[in-house]
Symmetry: C2
Subunit: 559 residues, 2 copies
């Protein structure tokens, strides 16, 4: 009997499903239909069509951040892959790796090079778009060689999982139906990061030695800890040690903020009062997975001397100034936690509560009056429920519009994980206008996020920087946001229920936060919050002021 065979299109999707992934994001096009067909051969997978490719890329990115598995994005040759490229670039910058599958012209057409649609000019090399996207990926597989199809696919998937960076799989439209041995699926994918074990032991010894000597050590858990799969480990490290533990702006939520040892967000000079002083006065800082960008370091004002720093990164580790290149923090952190767990008393763990307590940041307690940014975000923070608390932000890549797509991805991830918490989107009106259509996709697939929409008539983040009152920072201020959910499909005639309202005052916000629809996510909710265009959150205003070295052009001040 001859060996059992399957089409390589099905092979690709079986490999993807084997990771635990259940949805594929994207938009169909002439050159990806033959690969799309094979999704239906893998019952674990569902096609999740988005309105456009950029939003689909943002969705795949948001999925990755919550699910901690690669989001899968599927687009078509030229027009589709280029429309998505900014979303893939963001995933590259922030290590939210995705598998981007691009259906391209057939191998025969690539040979002949006709002036077929989605090309540029006569005799064009059909790999030109592949070359354009090279800087935004770890690797790619161009599936043209029938001898290596399964190996090429496996290599791309393995690289994506290990590097946490985007990879591309380019599949000509004649290729998905090519048969490959089903037994190729039996080969286990190599998904684990592996270090040089000897160097790993050396690092571990140095870390443990430093811990034994430290008087007031601290943990600073940054965002690449999450992206590279170390969230649970760093949480366990903090629980075991009870060391004062800090997050960064980009990693907010990595540590449960109700824990007694949680100290706040460290962002150099743009930290809440006391946080910077406390962190910087520690005699040993275990700092994991850093992304030392402008917005994540208070405009490069982070100040931790190397002789008190244990820096555990995905591409190197530095212990008290001694650098070990090409060492990944994940296996080291795993061994460190195991060691501390089994020999807690030897290391004097859990550590006693720190002698100096942080004064909790002074929170606003508005009861009446107009909405103010500094109050509202604190208030919404206090309304969070235990299962809500996992934040996504993209303030390094900083593409406005990201959050709408990312929220879709978060909804999909939460559904796959059967996660009981709510999905909450906070989005500005300018950002909304970039990607608004994907709210329809929430409704189409039955997702029920809570949308807090900031209505402040334009790009306030740009007003803070320059041109506070110039027309380039205005948007169309005539949108009736209260019609959004209805237009996109939540109406009596479709049977989809929704809750949509406006808040101009604290009293109105308090009413809304008590609403059962919000508390239980029974239906999709949109809460439109009105702010002054010149009201900026404290952290933004402080960072911009520090960077520009002058007061903002125009800023509302509140008591």
């Amino acid at each position: 009997m001859s060996e059992s065979q399957i089409p390589v299109g099905e092979y690709l999707f079986r490999r993807i499903a084997s990771l635990g992934i259940k949805h594929i994001f994207g938009v169909p096009g002439d050159f990806n239909l033959t690969i799309l067909d094979h999704i239906y051969s893998v019952p674990e997978l569902t096609w999740l069509g988005c309105c456009n490719e950029l939003n689909a890329a943002y969705a795949a990115d948001g999925y990755t951040r919550i699910r901690e598995l690669p989001g899968v994005l599927l687009t078509t040759y030229g027009v589709g892959e280029l429309s998505a490229i900014n979303g893939v670039a963001g995933a590259y910058a922030e290590h939210a790796g995705m598998i981007h599958i691009v259906g391209m012209t057939s191998r025969q057409v690539q040979q002949k090079r006709p002036l077929i649609h989605h090309t540029f000019e006569p005799n064009m090399d059909h790999t030109i778009y592949m070359q354009m996207s090279a800087p935004v990926r770890k690797t790619h597989a161009l599936l043209v060689n029938e001898e290596t199809l399964t190996a090429d696919i496996d290599r791309a998937i393995e690289e994506c999982v290990k590097s946490r960076l985007p990879v591309y799989i380019f599949i000509p439209m004649d290729v998905p139906s090519i048969l490959v041995p089903a037994s190729a699926l039996d080969k286990k994918l190599e998904l684990d990061v592996v270090n040089n074990v000897g160097t790993e032991s050396k690092i571990l010894d140095k870390v443990l030695h430093a811990l034994e000597k430290a008087k007031n050590p601290a943990i600073l858990a940054d965002v690449l800890t999450i992206r590279h799969g170390g969230r649970d480990l760093v949480r366990e490290l903090a629980d075991l040690t009870q060391f004062p533990t800090y997050s960064c702006p980009l990693s907010k939520g990595i540590i449960d903020e109700d824990k007694p040892y949680y100290m706040g967000v460290y962002s150099g000079k743009v930290s809440f009062p006391g946080v910077r002083e406390a962190l910087e006065s520690s005699d040993l800082i275990i700092n994991t997975g850093t992304l030392q960008t402008d917005s994540n370091t208070g405009g490069f004002t982070r100040n931790i001397p190397v002789e008190r720093l244990i820096l555990l990164e995905h591409d190197s580790c530095v212990v008290l100034g001694e650098k070990f290149p090409n060492m990944h923090f994940l296996p080291i952190l795993r061994r460190l936690v195991k060691e501390l767990r089994s020999k807690a008393s030897r290391y004097g763990l859990p550590a006693p509560a720190p002698s100096h307590k942080l004064i909790p940041p002074q929170l606003r307690s508005d009861r009446t009056g107009p909405l103010i940014q500094d109050f509202v975000w604190q208030r919404i923070g206090r309304s969070l429920q235990p299962n809500d608390a996992r934040a996504i932000t993209s303030t390094f890549w900083s593409a406005i519009g990201f959050s709408i797509g990312a929220c879709l991805g978060a909804c999909v991830a939460a559904r796959e994980m059967e996660h009981p918490g709510r999905v909450i989107l906070v989005v500005g009106d300018g950002s909304l206008q970039i990607a608004v259509q994907e709210i329809g996709t929430y409704i189409r697939f039955g997702f029920k996020p809570i949308i807090f929409l900031v209505n402040n008539n334009g790009y306030s983040i740009e007003r803070a920087i320059r041109g506070a009152e110039l027309s380039y920072n205005d948007i169309n201020s005539s949108w009736d946001h209260q019609q959004l959910l209805s237009l996109f499909g939540a109406r009596p005639d479709t049977g989809v229920s929704s809750f949509s309202t406006q808040c101009h005052t604290v009293e109105e916000l308090e009413d809304v936060l008590e609403n059962k629809s919000l508390a239980n996510c029974e239906r999709i909710c949109l809460v439109e919050l009105f702010f002054s265009p010149f009201d900026y959150p404290w952290r933004l205003a402080t960072q911009v002021t520090n960077t520009l070295g002058r007061p903002l052009e125009k800023q509302d001040k509140f008591d």
Copy 2:
């Protein structure tokens, strides 16, 4: 007295305004605010903020096609320029050149290479996005050298106008305020295409000689004639000669279809009955500005023997098989028209009406019943008014969503030209979902296009190709399109009037076409037309059938 100086940002916009351009499309961002400021120093220019960069690029492209001047697109570093890249690529493919200005990080920051937002990784070369977009432009200017700022700007603008391809101007955020001599503006821009005059004369002689000998010559005016500025010339050529004249799918509208010598759209085997035979039996064909793509040639079934062909292109001319590289048709066509105008009788012009008359294509004359694509487009065609008739389509680059942005550009161009005709958008529901927000921009800036929206529940063009009933060709079918104009700002409370309606039947369509709002463009109109998902226009169905070599999977047939 020292020489008068102006900021180079102002210099750039003065040069742009000197071409006759009056609007700048784009989206603000941290790195383009310092260049945006200078728009306000040039009173001829108005900033036209779009919802997102891809739509802004489509708008600049649409503007170019109508205005026959480069659309100007302004975006920010990384996130902005990459979001727009697919629109720029389309403008490159279809020769609808634009000037894409990108505000980037300051020169000082580019030297230091910090991990600033919109970058990828430590020590990143800040020109990385510039490299990614290299294949979609003719040239670029990176404004970093203070000695050559004005020359660099001039060169980029000149190349754009002459090549009709996109160019990029990258301007670091510290550069716009640098002062340059105002007198640099006195130097005239070199905007005219210039050929080798001797070769030009040789080509002209050969063309005239061939014309003298021809018995039944014809003109085939293709789309690059328009893009490269030859529309009026080819119209004059047809008027002077009265030769039977044809357009192509991409150039539809290049010749006034009411003219007696207009013969129809030639698209190889995908032409209306008789058109192909008539064109292909001519003994001399003057064929200008071709773009020989799949959709423009009936799937590469164009059949014109070289020994009867005069091919006048923007990059070469071929006269009866003799090739002249690097010769641009524009100066040649100009001389040809001049010669024929002054010596009409010598060339026996105007030619007598051709002996064989085309049987006019049989048009549908439905009076009742559901809407059918083949009827509706003919019917809407017959409702066009004299000043309406200039078509934009992008069926080579074929990015769905293009038309919404392009319509904005067309509206802006029409306003600048004080054009009395109506702007009419025909858009599918899948396409609408890609770029819907820009309808709000029509309303924001007071434009009043007529929008014919095809509601056929998905991507019917893909259903024709594959997966007719598979879910990947479905979209969110619960949008209430009748709320669109209202949500985006046309409401009693904003004082913006609109007309929005649905048509399911021929009777309803006839009623709507008689409506005064449509006839006079008094207000923005949306007419939602309902079709079966499996009803495809004749030309699409024919071409797909020919390409696939089999009947479509599922297709509605009508009497």
